[in-house]
Assembly symmetry: C2
Homo-oligomer: 312 residues x 2
DNA sequence: AATTCGTGTTTGTCCAGGACAAACAAGCAG
DNA sequence: CTGCTTGTTTGTCCTGGACAAACACGAATT
């Protein structure tokens, strides 16, 4: 039970702050100030790594590093509530009581109880309502709780893993899609959040779309290749808040360019809420919109059953 | 359908080669030689990114970059067969015919057919044989095929995603564990491969162990915290070939230090095959060993049903 | 009073080139 | 053929400089 110390590479892995940023903060703000080993290389004590993680968490909420680093310790609890981030499904008047029960089970680390409670709700409400009224707000709440420090990282991981299982199970139980449209579901490298994709898949599969789940972290060129190989009508990507928003517009333009023109590109998730989508990219700010867009696609392509028009 | 160009950050994301390495190769070997934009920043054409991915793939097989970069194009197919990597379950005289059928389904991008075929085998053979004789060698083969370039990245992703679903489904169908030992299953940051963890979970859950699946990519300090919170008897980590083996020994020592002394630390996966495990860390080179070790743990802890001895 | 438009500050990322240790290969001695 | 020493390869770390995009603030305008 010792407190280990970290190389700069380990800190980058564990906090998600790049080496460049770590060195720059040290230069500019005087924090973190790691010790040095015999070779002059940085060695970060565990306490500083912890603090860096707190700072990163608050930054994802919209706070700025300069002020965070200046604040001594009261930041930990005082700055916790996030400021001005009207994310999707907020103020949705959700069934908080039922949600709280689920959150409590996670907080008690009762994995079996949580899964059981989820499955019960799924059976009672049906998949669509389950996704929209239970899983989506729950994910939001867990994200908030994690950002506020009310949830440990591993509690969030446990929640995610168990919820994924229930969702996948539900999806597997659905009948096969109608073959149209063919929707390719994935995320780009550096974006590892799967839950959003699963929620979308559940809703689309429920409507009879043919979903091709490729997991997360597909290189751009591979996405375009996969779209061709699977003759996808739609490529759907998910982005979480943690995704570096700087790279987003350029990334989407590149992918749009790499895709065949008659393949639609849909993006969603909390990571795109502040984005102005480039031409040819459709942004979704709620799950409902996805279902509507699917219906719209269907009616727009009603006349042409299968064949692909000549591309390139 | 254009061919986009990439910033150095995008190349790092897509290839897994760090910015430092990319600049160093340019300096030393003269490849890649990106163009420069108006501001003097590197701009990599798609062709070079492709080649970098091929090189990275061959490096993971044990080839060395200096020679790879010198080789013009015949490397692509000629160097493909890997050299001297006796990974686990090799020469296992496996049911190749049945495997090939599954691989063919993936290659045809027949997701539904593949899932169906998997489930059929699962039902026929039972979970234990299914994991050991089907999933494990299949994963190995897909990895090889991917490294040889016979599989596209997205085909490997599709395989992984679908197999994960079948495995999770099977695990969900098992009765709850006996409560002992409590095994925490996860991986460290930068290690995102889930399949190995799921295979282990399936086998351990089958033996009645209480598995706590935390997904992948847990920061070190969080693993130790989670182990305490869940009163885990064993922490099991999985490492794939892609994991940077340089950091491994130090990482494991740190984690070992951070864990309570009466928590065992088990590691497995193809990423640890060349590792000499530090003190207090147990290395597994096959799935069978895990099952055996579980039995051994059980008999060693037979007398003391639940209570934890005083730690610190 | 609210909104638009500069303008200054904050902040992340990029660049270059130097240094070094760990991993590896090759040659030599037993 | 095996074990050791020596030279080469290779990744990572370091410093310090530069700049543009994002942001916050205040002034001018509707």
């Amino acid at each position: 039970m010792n407190t280990p110390s970290f190389t700069i590479a380990a800190v980058e892995r564990d906090t998600g702050l790049s080496k460049d940023v770590l060195r720059m903060w040290e230069r500019r703000y005087g924090f973190p100030v790691p010790e040095r080993d015999a070779h002059g290389e940085r060695v970060y004590p565990a306490a500083q790594v912890e603090r860096l993680r707190v700072i990163k968490r608050l930054m994802d909420q919209g706070h700025r590093p300069g002020k965070l680093i200046a604040t001594p310790v009261e930041e930990l609890s005082l700055l916790a509530p996030r400021r001005s981030r009207p994310t999707l499904a907020e103020g949705h008047a959700v069934d908080s009581a039922g949600q709280d029960e689920l959150l409590t089970l996670i907080r008690q680390h009762d994995a079996n109880g949580f899964v059981h409670a989820l499955q019960q709700r799924l059976a009672r409400q049906g998949l669509q309502r389950f996704v929209q009224d239970i899983v989506a707000p729950l994910t939001q709440q867990v994200g908030d709780a994690w950002e506020d420090g009310r949830f440990e990282v591993f509690e969030e991981h446990l929640f995610t893993e168990l919820t994924k299982r229930v969702l996948r199970q539900a999806i597997a139980a659905l009948p096969q899609g109608s073959g149209s449209p063919r929707v390719l579901l994935t995320s780009v490298p550096d974006e590892q959040h799967m839950l959003g994709l699963l929620m979308v898949e559940a809703l689309l599969a429920l409507e009879g779309a043919e979903c091709i789940p490729l997991g997360t972290q597909m290189p751009l060129l591979e996405i375009s290749r996969a779209a061709t190989a699977h003759r996808a009508d739609i490529v759907a990507l998910s982005f979480s808040v943690a995704f570096p928003s700087r790279q987003l517009p350029k990334l989407l333009e590149q992918l749009r360019d790499a895709l065949s023109a008659n393949t639609e590109l849909w993006v969603g998730g909390s990571g795109v809420s502040r984005l102005v989508p480039p031409a040819g990219v459709r942004r979704f700010s709620s799950l409902e919109q996805g279902v509507e867009a699917l219906a719209a696609w269907r009616s727009a392509h009603a006349g042409q059953p299968m064949g692909r028009s000549t591309s390139t």
